[in-house]
């Protein structure tokens, strides 16, 4: 006779069984395999013909100039892209938070691009940014500007991708908008009585009050930009001249075109460690600027 408490424990496991099985098979197992393969020279997925080569995958990477380029581009997207995209989201959210007639209509449309499948986004951007027939160069032509080679120029492609990120930044805007709505209006009223200017009110009230959301969006966007790949692959295939060739692009290439699976595994593990370290750093540094209501300065 099983005690009812024991029986209930089994029932608990039964309910969470889908997740438990999924977590084990689709996360623990591949992750464990990745760590194992990273120290071998396996070339194909599932091949049994391989040797242990210790750390050589890692040391080979360090001497690979293309790997260096991919790291440099990824750092660009993280250090420059993340602050630009996050600031863009915040400015758009502030604008959409204005109390004017018809604002609901504006709010409906800014989220639409976020829901566009990425391949469609790329088709649309190629139509807009096409150097010969695109609407953007046509528009700039009205002001006497010459045709700009947006997608084919090594100097332009990274800024164009960051602009694309702003175009599909609806989720971040939505989070900021919700945070802005959550700022208690009595704070603004008090500040108005004290004669605080609009800019002063933004920096002394709005910014501290929404700082938890800023932290959240910053962390998510940093993780996302570390993994920048699909946009760069579809829009410019990593080019021109490796200008949009990112870290994850290098993983993809190692695994699926160069057939060096073990190398790709090693790169995946480095990526994981890097993202973990940077996220920890942001969370730690955030103590200085994030304000949690009711706790004082955290």
């Amino acid at each position: 006779m099983i005690s009812s408490k024991r029986l209930d424990g089994w029932k608990f496991l039964l309910f969470i069984a889908p997740w438990l099985i999924g977590f084990t098979i689709f996360f623990l197992l591949p992750f464990g395999t990745a760590v194992f393969y990273a120290f071998t020279d396996a070339r194909l997925p599932g091949s049994t013909d391989f040797n242990f080569i210790g750390m050589s995958n890692f040391s080979t990477l360090m001497g690979d100039p293309i790997f260096g380029k991919s790291v440099a581009n990824t750092i660009y997207f993280v250090l420059l892209g993340v602050p630009i995209v996050t600031t863009g989201m915040l400015l758009i959210a502030l604008l959409l938070n204005l109390d004017v007639k018809g604002i609901a209509l504006f709010r409906t449309f800014y989220y639409l691009p976020t829901l566009v499948p990425i391949v469609a986004t790329v088709i649309i951007w190629r139509l807009v940014f096409n150097s010969e027939f695109g609407v953007l160069n046509g528009f700039l032509g009205l002001f006497g500007m010459g045709k700009v080679n947006w997608l084919g120029g090594a100097g332009m492609i990274k800024p164009v991708i960051i602009l694309l990120q702003i175009w599909i930044s609806g989720s971040g805007v939505l989070i900021f908008l919700a945070a802005l709505k959550g700022v208690p209006s009595h704070l603004y009223e008090a500040a108005l009585i004290d004669g605080a200017s609009r800019i002063r009110r933004f920096f002394s009230i709005t910014l501290p009050m929404i700082s938890p959301s800023i932290l959240f969006v910053l962390v998510i966007q940093t993780m996302y930009n570390f993994q920048m790949f699909t946009e760069a692959m579809l829009l410019s295939n990593g080019g021109p001249n490796y200008a949009s060739y990112t870290y994850v692009f290098h993983i993809y290439k190692a695994a699926f075109t160069d057939l060096k699976f073990s190398m790709a595994m090693a790169q995946s593990i480095i990526l994981f460690a890097m993202i973990l370290a940077v996220t920890m750093f942001i969370l730690k540094a955030s103590n200085r600027f994030v304000y949690y209501e009711g706790e004082g300065r955290g």
């Binding site: 029932k11 496991l13 039964l14 969470i16 069984a17 889908p18 997740w19 999924g22 977590f23 098979i25 689709f26 591949p30 992750f31 395999t33 990745a34 997925p45 599932g46 604008l95 204005l98 449309f109 800014y110 989220y111 639409l112 691009p113 566009v116 499948p117 990425i118 391949v119 469609a120 088709i123 649309i124 951007w125 190629r126 139509l127 807009v128 010969e132 027939f133 609407v135 046509g138 032509g141 009205l142 175009w167 989720s171 939505l174 989070i175 959240f216 969006v217 996302y224 993994q227 699909t230 579809l234 993809y252 695994a255 699926f256 790709a264 595994m265 995946s268 990526l271 994981f272 993202i275």
Partner: protein, 281 residues
């Protein structure tokens, strides 16, 4: 004094609208350009400077698209089927697990739920290659199984979503069911789930939309063109006819259409889902 105050207020209102319209143009302009392009003749898209609106509105682009790529219907069907199965599996499996985490008193519970939350923070691209190896060993490459089966085995984000909602349902209702002789599963199926319609709608819309938007998964796992989803098919199409701008625009439009319709009818649920935990793929 009063006049100048009013004037500055009117000026700031005008400025607000100018900025708002600027942002609206940034967000919808490219979409409008897609609509304009897909209704043009092929010849008209090779003009410089480009015409903002089609000179003659024509649906030729759609005809060309479907003749050039007879698999279009198949791809649309595949995408719909996969996304529906993903949405269904997500709701069933994640709600079950969430119920376990919300309602049981178990020593292992908190530790396991912590792991659920941690997996939310694992960067997806770290798993691309390891998962590919797994699916190769399972013999799942060029099937829809890698896209569908994981959804039937619980997703961390959705488990969290459901759990948060279940916590708000009063436990007194559970007790009443136990007194009537019902068990755990009766509470789940007769009490908790019927009271959770809003979150079920949010979760199924999210799961459907994200499955529809997924590119990398289908792109890596599907090999034969008749198995493609619409996104992968479109990517294939770009390689096939990169200079037929109206046909490409038409293809893009078709891939946006279902989600656009869902968004306009269920905007509230999508907004709630994003704000609730701030999902970002």
């Amino acid at each position: 004094m009063n006049v100048s105050y009013k004037r500055s207020k009117a000026a700031s209102k005008a400025l607000s609208y100018i900025l708002l319209i600027g942002v609206l143009a940034l967000f919808t302009g490219p979409l409008l350009w897609m609509l304009s392009t897909m209704l043009k003749t092929k010849a008209e898209t090779y003009k410089y400077p480009p015409s903002l609106f089609p000179e003659t509105v024509t649906f030729e682009a759609f005809e060309r698209l479907f003749t050039l790529q007879p698999l279009m219907w198949q791809w649309i069907g595949n995408s719909v089927l996969i996304s529906v199965l993903v949405a269904l599996g997500t709701v069933v499996s994640s709600s079950l697990a969430a119920y376990g985490f919300a309602r049981f008193d178990n020593r292992a519970k908190n530790g396991l739920f912590f792991i659920v939350l941690i997996t939310l923070m694992i960067p997806a691209s770290v798993m691309i290659v390891p998962s590919f190896v797994l699916y190769t060993k399972l013999g799942w490459i060029d099937t829809w199984l890698p896209l569908i089966v994981p959804a039937w085995l619980g997703g961390a984000y959705y488990i969290f979503l459901f759990r948060q909602f279940f916590m708000t349902i009063p436990r007194e209702l559970d007790e009443a069911t136990y007194l009537d002789g019902g068990g755990r599963f009766t509470v789940y199926s007769r009490i908790v789930m019927p009271l959770s319609k809003p979150i079920i709608i949010t979760a199924s819309i999210f799961a459907f939309v994200y499955s529809w938007l997924d590119f990398l998964g289908p792109f890596l796992y599907l090999k034969s063109s008749e198995n493609y989803t619409l996104s992968v098919g479109l990517q294939f199409l770009i390689g096939q006819t990169s200079q037929d701008f109206p046909a490409l625009a038409a293809g893009a439009f078709i891939s946006i259409l279902p989600i656009g319709v869902i968004y306009f009818f269920a905007q509230r649920y999508i907004v709630e889902g994003v704000v609730l935990t701030g999902s970002k793929g």
